[in-house]
């Protein structure tokens, strides 16, 4: 399982963790992970703690997610980025589109 989805018991937090490689190979799995959000307007956390590799298709997938759900969620946070991943997100100026923690 390279995409692990977890909705908190109060429905207010949706965590999507990506393990290993984040690229178009998991495009369907990733979309499924945010396809049902519940009715609590959750905050979405994309947890990249165990994301070892990513490429520009992953950045495209994050943008697609943002397009699809930003009206239905409280915010989208990208959390637990390694120094390398933070650097990549910085260069693509994702800090203007997501909350990067």
């Amino acid at each position: 399982m390279s995409v692990v989805r977890h909705l908190s018991s109060d429905g207010k937090e949706l965590t999507i963790a990506i393990h290993g490689k984040f690229d178009f190979g998991i495009v369907q799995e990733f979309r499924r992970a945010y396809s049902s959000l519940g009715d609590q307007k959750p905050t979405v956390y994309v947890d990249l703690r165990q994301t070892e590799y990513l490429d520009s298709s992953a950045l495209g997938m994050l943008l697609n997610m943002r397009k699809a759900i930003s009206d239905h969620v409280k915010g989208i946070h990208i959390i637990n980025c390694s120094a390398e991943v933070s650097n990549i997100l910085d260069i693509s100026r994702f800090d203007k589109l997501f909350v990067i923690e």
Binding site: H6, R49, Q50, L54, L63, A83, V85, N87, D90
Partner: protein
Amino acid sequence: MLQPSPPLVIDIYHDGSAFAEEVIGDLQHLKLAKRLRLKAFRDWRPDALLPHPTLLVLADFAAQLEQPLCCTEQLLILPFQLDAKKLLLWPGDSLVWPLSVPLLSKQIQLLVQRFQCAHQLRSMQESLAWHARQVEREYELVENIFQNALSRNFTDYPHIRTLLAPAAKFNGDLCLVAPGPTGSLYVMMADFTGHGLAPATGALPLSQAFFAMADRSVSVAEMVTEFNYRLHRLLPNEMFCACFLLELAANGERLTYWNGGMPPALVYDDQGAIKHRLKAQHVALGVLPTEEFDAQVSSIRTSASDRVAIYTDGVIEMLSQRHEFLGLKSLECYLQAYPQLRDFDRLIHKLEHFRGDEPLHDDMSLAILACCPTGLAPARAESEARALPFSFITELNADDLRQVDVVSAILGIIGHLPNLRYHRTTLYLLLAEVFNNALEHSLLGLDSRIKDEPEGFTYYYQLRAERLQQLSKGMIRVEVSYQPRSAHIYFTLSHNGTRWQPQSQAALAGQERSHGRGLELLRHLASPLIWHEDGRTVEFGYYLTPTRSTASTTG
């Protein structure tokens, strides 16, 4: 067990006098032992440890007899004419000769009995002392193992205070602290059933798993699942482990936790107002098999002025001298009275005062963590000397391109080498962009503009998969060379597909466009970056210097 049996040997020390010969002659008829061993009195030592029941037969009282004896189970036989007062100076047993045969026999039997009792007692003492030494030695070894197991415990973290008070020599409570590679902080408090060596044993595998997983930045939910799996297999049925595990994000603003069977952790602000009670939503670790185990975590938002107090039930069930429990309410009152980390010692003093001289009945542990930004540097890209320079070339035909995930395979080869490993995410990204450009545009003939249409993104990757399956000709060649001296890695990728022209930077403006982001990353990160031969060859290099965010936290 203490029934006397006729001894094999009785030792007789004598002075060689006519009196002694007469007595020994009589004793030999009595068959008191298998053998009477005769020795000269001058060889007798009061401080000797005697191997056999011993008689002393002397015609006269000797000065040595007044000294203290190592073994008092020896019988002195003297002629009756001697001064009875002198006999009192002898610390052992005595009789005066002559004596009726039955009385003599009885006296000697009693001596044998006493000797055997004393002998047994001595050997038991020795065996007990041996066992005590053995246990002490083993405790030392075990303590050493525990010390080593916990040597990585990061209790020196500046924003945490801990108290660990075991009720016995070994602690069945465990309080572990470890930094995560993203700058987050993990804190675990665990309480095994009972106290002493047996529960402490469970702490070994648990702590090893905790530190290993913290190093890999494993999430709280996955950690507790692993702990539960291990402990469920390891612990006997009646033993389990209550556990509170938390991870505080590097910015100190999000606390994720799992509580299985521990008392509620208390979150309060610097004025002491209680904001949350993080109650147990789960049963303890080691109770349920993996299929039934619930790893659902919760999280709360925190700020720098928040504190979280985690403790084992030993704290709230601590007894006062008047045998009253401390209780949760009182603990909350103490925390409210001393909400600052610098008050920790005073808080402990209060708890000690409550307990007075009452001994601890259970292990007692308390940790208070301030939820400020952790200030922990993300895992550092350390420079590892003595890496070898290398180069390799791989030439891939259509079959290879269909069957092999080329970029992952190349990173599989170079991504764990010294110096390169800390850059593998960036190296992957760079090679993936260049490789996918060549494959998708020049060999598969895909146009990125497809991605601009609604659902275009998914459609693009569907087409990619279909055309790749049909690919029958085409070649991509990748050359990698690495020079540790200049900390530079260089890639050359060429293909025999159609020509390709990189878009200019200006054409790539705008944040939310659906393609071209890879090229922008390449231009930022690669140095140099050159296309030749109508885009059929691209060369790029990358300097293996610490990444920017690392440099800012360490420099």
